[in-house]
């Protein structure tokens, strides 16, 4: 009788170990319970309105929905960013989230980054500084500020011309200097 019980305990132990090993391997018994996995995932895309590390919230202004407030936690995955600190006001972000009771909890927060078009290369600060020192003639370049004119007027890099992206799109290449020189575009950072 006692022996049978022992054997039963052993097989029970083996079964538990089996389940644990599956869990560790990320198998069918993964750390996320099935009901949570089945939970609907939503998406919101918009401009960052504010980030609070203290309240662990990020707020986005979403088209046709207005401001939305999301919680983030240690499980939240940041894409193209190391932490919530890397999200600045006005930048684009895509948030995948789940509902936890009444809260919207971010599963992932992805920073919108513009891809550099084919055939266009990236230039660094020391390289730009070297050219600016030479000046547009000797350096054979034209530096173009793509931000709205108001931002240019507040403060721009020496020797830069103002050609806001929206105007360039509307009015076309006549806003650009003649061909034959290096054209360098910049704006308000990698957004």
């Amino acid at each position: 009788m006692i022996k049978t019980k022992k054997r039963f305990m052993l097989s029970l132990w083996a079964a538990v170990m089996f389940i644990v090993s599956l869990t560790l391997a990320g198998g069918p018994f993964s750390a996320i319970p099935a009901w949570a996995e089945a939970e609907a995932m939503y998406e919101a895309k918009g401009k960052v309105k504010g980030v609070s590390n203290k309240a662990r919230t990020i707020s986005l202004s979403v088209k046709e929905k207005g401001p939305m407030i999301f919680k983030f936690n240690d499980q939240t995955q940041f894409i193209h960013a190391d932490s919530a600190r890397d999200f600045k006001k006005g930048e684009g972000a895509l948030i995948k989230y789940k509902m936890a009771g009444p809260d919207m909890v971010a599963v992932s927060i992805k920073k919108a980054i513009s891809r550099i078009p084919q055939g266009v290369s990236v230039i660094t600060t020391p390289e730009v500084a070297k050219l600016v020192k030479k000046g547009p003639q000797a350096g054979n370049y034209r530096l173009i500020d793509s931000r709205p004119a108001r931002r240019y007027s507040e403060g721009h890099i020496p020797t830069a011309l103002s050609v806001p992206f929206m105007q360039l799109k509307k009015k076309g290449m006549e806003l650009l200097p003649p061909k034959g020189k290096t054209l360098i575009f910049y704006c308000g950072g990698p957004t």
Binding site: K49, I144, M173, L176, K179, L183, F185, Y186
Partner: protein
């Protein structure tokens, strides 16, 4: 914006197109200076500093400028606004002096320091802008212009004492417990969307947090929900006995 512009240039047949992706913020961060335009210097709400000596200033300066010769700039620090986001523009006879002043003010912690290349007074006059003779102002008078929804410090304090205005503290519970404004109710930002029914629609609402960051998020949400609301974009510290400090 710049990669898109570069893409257009490439499409239009420009051979050598580059993107400086760090952009204006990266440029400034690496210790380089930015230039303001005559139109901005003429009309914007800025602290404008003429770094030249009194004789040159009297001979002709930009209206609104404060005369602080470069060699006395360091000892004039206390004259500058308490707000570190106050836009400060320096000009001098020699651009090197302006560059030096930009460095000093940036080291003080000011975030929006630029220079105006005044030897190009030609540019200033070409715009038809005025040059004023005589002495320049000796004191800085700069009042922050408030953005949408921002309440002034004075109005905020008045709101605390008004029964018609509900002040909502959107900091966390623990922060609130450690000290809060007399009369303020606590609804942490993250629970705000679910607790809207606790906020009266027939009162004017003022939200605040510790620095204005959460306050602004709360402001945007409440405005969207149709509340008459403002927020405090300033720093505050509250003691358990109800005493507090407010600063910008």
């Amino acid at each position: 914006m710049s990669p898109k512009s570069a893409g257009l240039a490439k499409k239009w047949g420009y051979a050598d197109v580059k993107v400086y992706s760090e952009g204006a913020p990266g440029w400034k961060q690496k210790g380089h200076y930015l230039i303001s335009t005559p139109g901005y210097v003429n009309t914007a709400n800025i602290v404008l500093v003429d770094l030249r000596g009194p004789a040159q200033v009297r001979a002709g300066h930009i209206p609104g400028a404060v005369g602080i010769p470069l060699d006395s700039l360091s000892e004039s620090r206390r004259m500058f606004p308490t707000s570190m986001v106050a836009p400060i523009v320096f000009y001098a006879g020699d651009i090197k002096e302006s560059v030096g002043a930009v460095k000093i003010a940036s080291q003080w912690g000011y975030k929006n320091v630029t220079l105006f290349p005044f030897p190009g007074a030609r540019e200033w006059l070409a715009e038809g802008f005025e040059i004023r003779t005589g002495p320049a102002a000796q004191k800085i008078h700069w009042v922050r212009k408030r953005g949408p929804g921002e309440i002034s410090l004075d109005d905020f304090e008045a709101a605390l004492n008004s029964g018609a205005i509900e002040v909502i503290d959107v900091r966390g519970n623990a922060e609130y417990e450690a000290g809060h404004f007399p009369g303020a109710i606590n609804i942490p930002l993250d629970s705000l969307p679910q607790r809207l029914d606790e906020i009266p629609k027939d009162k004017f609402i003022v939200v605040h947090c510790k620095t204005g960051v959460r306050g602004e998020m709360a402001y945007l949400l409440l405005k969207e929900k149709g509340y008459a609301v403002k927020y405090l974009n300033a720093n505050c510290k509250c003691k358990p006995d109800g005493t507090y400090w407010l600063w910008e």
